[in-house]
Symmetry: C2
């Protein structure tokens, strides 16, 4: 049994590799929900959907998120209203682009939540509808929202405003996960961590994807209990994030944007860090942070590399 802490695109690609080397039924992904967003009355769960669509083989391969062959009629039509919305109203906003096919997922999820289902149930139904054989579990069914404080003193931003609307081109001085102190792990999360043969931290953004999962009361403690069996893949290669703002955010929040910085951040609950060959020269510093270091190819150019990386993370388990 393998449990994976997962954010979005990087985690989805890792999981797609993992299911090539182990029985998918043995895999549980605990997925970040702190970047969920309510748009036009709909509940949108970007990381869950990216993982689902990727494992279904339906993801847009170029973007790494969204659906292949997507159409954008609803967004095109929404622009008519965006132009006329009252000053300051986010209604009609099209900066977060929801594809027509993708909309169906949000319509279904929103309807089920309104009926009283919780996000874990809906997630199971959505992934079953896509014939995903891994178990996908949201980190919590409670509402947790990543909020970022711009370094220039302008008002706090929601995650998707930061990430999508401003394309993470905003220096940040603080990140918090609003609501996390009252959140409970979703049903199955603590068991999945406690009983896994190995817990893998996917190559996701340490600050925006992994930290909110670990911040849910009970999850960090459960990980620390299993520290010896927790292996992380560094999302930082040669001092840079493969995608997204992880490198900049690490630096802005006072961490070294390197495999060493990641090792120090994860050390309390991670025993092993897989770093890329490009960073082989820093393995000693990783180990000095108290984390065993495995060096290998970590960049997932395609399914073969993803499967090889998955095998590497499981080696010795």
């Amino acid at each position: 049994m393998i449990t994976v802490l997962a954010g979005g695109v990087g985690a989805a690609r890792y999981l797609a590799g993992l299911v090539q080397v182990v029985d998918p039924a043995a895999v549980t992904a605990v997925v970040n929900t702190a970047d969920d967003v309510w748009l036009h009355g709909l509940r949108v769960c970007p990381d869950l959907d990216t993982v689902t669509y990727t494992l279904a083989g339906a993801v847009d391969p170029d973007q790494g998120w969204g659906l292949a062959g997507e159409t954008w009629s609803a967004m095109t039509a929404l622009a008519r209203y965006e132009r006329r919305a009252p000053e300051g109203s986010p209604a009609g906003s099209t900066w977060f682009r929801l594809g027509d096919h993708d909309l169906a997922t949000h319509l279904y999820r929103t309807a089920r939540l309104a009926e009283g289902a919780d996000l874990a149930e809906v997630t199971a139904e959505v992934s079953a509808a896509w014939d995903v054989r891994c178990r996908l579990v949201p980190m919590t069914t409670d509402v947790v929202s990543t909020r970022l404080t711009p370094a220039d003193g302008s008002p706090e931003l929601g995650f998707q405003e930061y990430f999508v609307r401003y394309r993470h081109a905003v220096a940040v001085s603080a990140v918090r996960f609003a609501g996390v102190e009252h959140a409970r792990p979703a049903a199955g999360v603590l068991d999945a961590i406690a009983t896994a043969d190995r817990v893998v931290v996917a190559p996701s953004n340490p600050i925006l994807s992994i930290a909110p999962i670990v911040a849910v009361p009970g999850i960090g403690e459960a990980l620390a209990e299993r520290r010896a069996d927790v292996v992380a893949v560094s999302p930082i290669v040669a001092g840079a994030a493969l995608r997204g703002p992880a490198d900049r955010l690490l630096a802005e929040l006072g961490h070294e944007p390197s495999v060493v910085g990641v090792a120090r951040l994860y050390a309390p609950w991670v025993a092993t860090l897989v770093i890329d060959d490009a960073d082989a020269g820093r393995a000693g510093e990783v180990e000095a942070a108290g984390v065993r270091c495995v060096v290998g190819p970590t960049v997932m150019h395609g399914p073969a590399e993803a499967a090889a990386l998955a095998a590497l993370t499981l080696a010795g388990s």
Copy 2:
């Protein structure tokens, strides 16, 4: 100033004719909202949208509702979830088909309502976005829901279940407008009735489109005050509804499915009924019901006939 009580397709076509013969800025349409429905978390207002799209020249000309050139990607994608939804859950239902472009209207409206705007404000914004020059006002901003009791004793149906899901192929023993007793007319409705030179009852379903408007406390009374200036167009021609179940419903609820039945139903607050040439032989019976009868062509095959009908309803005003 002309105020029109409006349902869906028939009213929309009448209004499109009316704005050819009077300044659109002089027209207020008070639109039925009792067939509004919440689908997948979105507020859908079929009659308001049909009127808006028609006046915008954007309506699907064959259906008479929805948008011309519509695409259906979201509904196609939703079918995946419908197949897997839990037994009895309406989530994922695709029987009420929302086109991709039309979805934008529901997304915008739902977002604005969630921000605290009322339906009258949102209706004004939506119609402005389509450059509609008439004033469109919902009958109320409160929630009123048409409910139909099947004659076979099966459970009460919501309007859209009856109308769309079962294609009105269900005999009905009772109709009620849930919530109407506590509803207030939307801002502007009573004034529009009180100050109009003429109030027109569009050729809409008397039971399902016009009755809920009249049932809003205050509206029926305001119409009765203006009875001498209220003219209705019969939606029944030669004993049959031009579209929809108005004829059957009238009969099922104990009214004669004819211009005479319509005249009797409207007599307390309508002074003049426009009936089709096909019903000229019944003009005497209409007048015997206490309603002045105007006979002429009422079937709107296209814009020219709609304009002529509008002119006929205004003649003598």
